[in-house]
Subunit: 393 residues, 2 copies
């Protein structure tokens, strides 16, 4: 069996707002081999990943991503690893490559799982899948009152954990941040697990982050996520002991397993957060999960989009019982909600479990998606290199 | 003065060959502010960088690169730093961003230098520019005989150093590699400095690299470049003591200064090679050069394209006397040769010095470039987001 087609579909809401909500658009990936179809998703900047799929070659280490995928044998999981290595080698000087590969890798796993009638997590070698405690992942409100009401709603819906991020946090005074965090804690109640996401707001400014240590500690926050840019490793390492027992979380922007492992080792993280749609797919994410387990760092998914992406993000650590937390987006745009027929809903304990079905176990809702499909055309030297294909199974 | 226009021009040879020659295409960047024009270049995959310049926003941390550049004040060098920080923050989830920013940053420095009637290296704070010893940078021949003749020609042209890379090296037997290296040494003569570039051929396979240690040492090679992927830091660290006194060189694929500094610190490099067209431009490269000087690692440019890129690549370490070597491409495709009216030619000692003229001191040859301009059109939702503009000053 060989990979016969790789198609990208740019989906978007009619209006994109300037907020930290990654569910406003999506890049859906469809791979075909023999009678099978696999689905995946790349995170962010769909047009750029489309360009990297089909761009003209620059030289031998800068080829379009599709050149290393189309026509390749796909019979077992070693084929997925080989395709990934070929992509990274043949497109080494094309920076976007890792994001583009991510969605393709996910679709290859989905396809192979369907063919072998096996869930992806079983193909990865896990004997069983453990349920994960969902943390409801939302943006801060514009005001502390809005943050309070969001927290209250999350608590009422039965979630045991919540993460507030981006929005006004870190942009004004320490007192303003304290008011938001106090509001979140009050809304959640004293038992709710509180996580805070600073969205890289302090760059590499250790002092600015340190000013928030007391309010985070007093509120009993479990983690502070991304106080700094991913590359500001020295700032992370310096903050970690100052902020204990609050732990640091980061990693969503890692685009290779090696980068995530290095971050985990050097930034003194308590939690490593991996986005399957960026790190290179399920293959790379599984390598990070394995490394995290060995190093006593807790692996957590990063997912702020569809339930297709959610299933893909759970597979790499489904069988790791001690890695028990998962990000669960609860403010999805209609596009991301409509993307799949299959849903992964929390049970009464606020927990989810990865689908026990072939591949990712998720069926995309192709007819619901039609209105979101963005018409794209890329012409080079008068020749059409990409035109949005028809979205069908 | 504000940035009024940012334009990208995709240039390419009529046919692109599947060889490790990065001079087969180019992405020329033109920035305008007031009456001034600055020029820069992004390395590799022009179509993808064009897409990242103008793509629709995905969310607040995934905006098109141009959104953080157009309309920004540009009066002194702090403005360039601020624009770079804004681009990286507002386009953090767009992986291609660093490559795209690179050419823009170079053009901003060129423009500001012209306005202030000052060479870029002076704006960077260097009191004078030191000449650099050129190493002639070429690909291995297909056969040892071809490699021998290349080396002989380089020696006859007065170069004191030469680098051979890619092609058949590392792909067949150790004996085949030994024949190529012996041919290179014979052609250069015993005095010529010999550098070898493995082009990441061994991935993270330490054993494969170790098999070549003796032949490199016997040939008196000064460095072995990129035996492994950039991320295979453990392999680099393990190879370094085994291969001494030959030193390791790497870094051309680093896309941030932080990544290069980390590589330098952890991979036990003798030489850090920075491509200004990938690392984030002159600003990021200058940060790496400063860090290299502090750490006793020798900074070297990575340049396999035009003399515009060559001038940009020399500026960041022009004033560092102890960093005395430079890559000088001698097998440029006509496109890369034709790109500039100004040339940077080696003197009789085989040395070059960065132009002592405002900005980069390089005048692009716009009329010669017209035949290389590639017509590109990107349409999204029926609207043209990019069409190749007219190439003029």
């Amino acid at each position: 069996m060989r990979v016969e087609a790789v198609d990208f579909f740019y989906l978007a809401m009619p209006t994109i707002f300037d907020i930290g909500d990654g569910s406003q658009d999506a890049l859906l990936v469809r791979v075909q081999a023999g009678p099978y179809v696999g689905w995946g998703e790349c995170e962010a900047a769909p047009l750029v990943s489309i360009a990297s799929l089909i761009c003209p070659m620059s030289h031998s280490a800068c080829k379009p991503v599709i050149a290393s995928v189309l026509g390749q044998p796909l019979d077992d999981i070693a084929d997925i690893a080989r395709i990934g290595a070929d992509v990274r080698s043949n497109s080494a000087d094309l920076l976007q490559t890792d994001h583009t590969l991510s969605g393709i890798d996910v679709a290859l796993w989905d396809l192979l799982g369907k063919r072998l009638e096996t869930p992806v997590h079983t193909l990865l070698g896990y004997k069983r899948a453990y349920s994960k405690v969902c943390y409801a992942s939302v943006l801060f409100g514009d005001t502390p009152e809005q943050t309070f009401h969001k927290a209250q709603r999350i608590q009422a819906q039965g979630y045991r954990a919540a993460k507030f991020g981006w929005g006004p946090f870190g942009r004004a005074t320490v007192a303003a941040d304290a008011a938001h965090i106090a509001a979140a804690r009050e809304g959640l109640g004293s038992d709710g697990m509180l996580l805070i996401d600073a969205g890289m707001i302090w760059g590499d400014d250790l002092a600015a982050a340190t000013q928030r240590v007391a309010i985070l500690r007093d509120a009993g926050a479990v983690w502070l996520e991304e106080p700094f840019w991913t590359e500001a490793i020295a700032a992370y390492r310096a903050l970690a002991p100052r902020i204990a027992p609050v732990r640091l979380a980061a990693g969503e922007r890692c685009h290779t397993a090696a980068m995530a492992i290095q971050l985990m080792e050097q930034a003194d993280l308590g939690f490593i957060q991996i986005d399957v749609g960026r790190v290179g797919g399920i293959s790379a994410a599984h390598a990070v999960a394995t490394a995290a387990a060995e190093r006593g760092v807790t692996y957590v998914n990063h997912t702020f989009t569809s339930h297709l992406a959610l299933s893909a993000s759970l597979q790499p650590y489904a069988g790791l019982q001690e890695h028990w937390l998962c990000e669960y987006p609860v403010e999805l745009q209609p596009l991301a909600r409509d993307l799949t027929i299959t849903r992964i809903e929390p049970n009464e304990q606020g927990e989810i479990v990865v689908p026990d079905a072939p591949g990712l176990g998720i069926q995309p809702d192709l007819s619901a998606l039609q209105p979101y499909v963005i018409d794209v055309e890329i012409r080079v030297r008068g020749r059409t290199l990409y035109r949005t294909p028809a979205l069908s199974a």
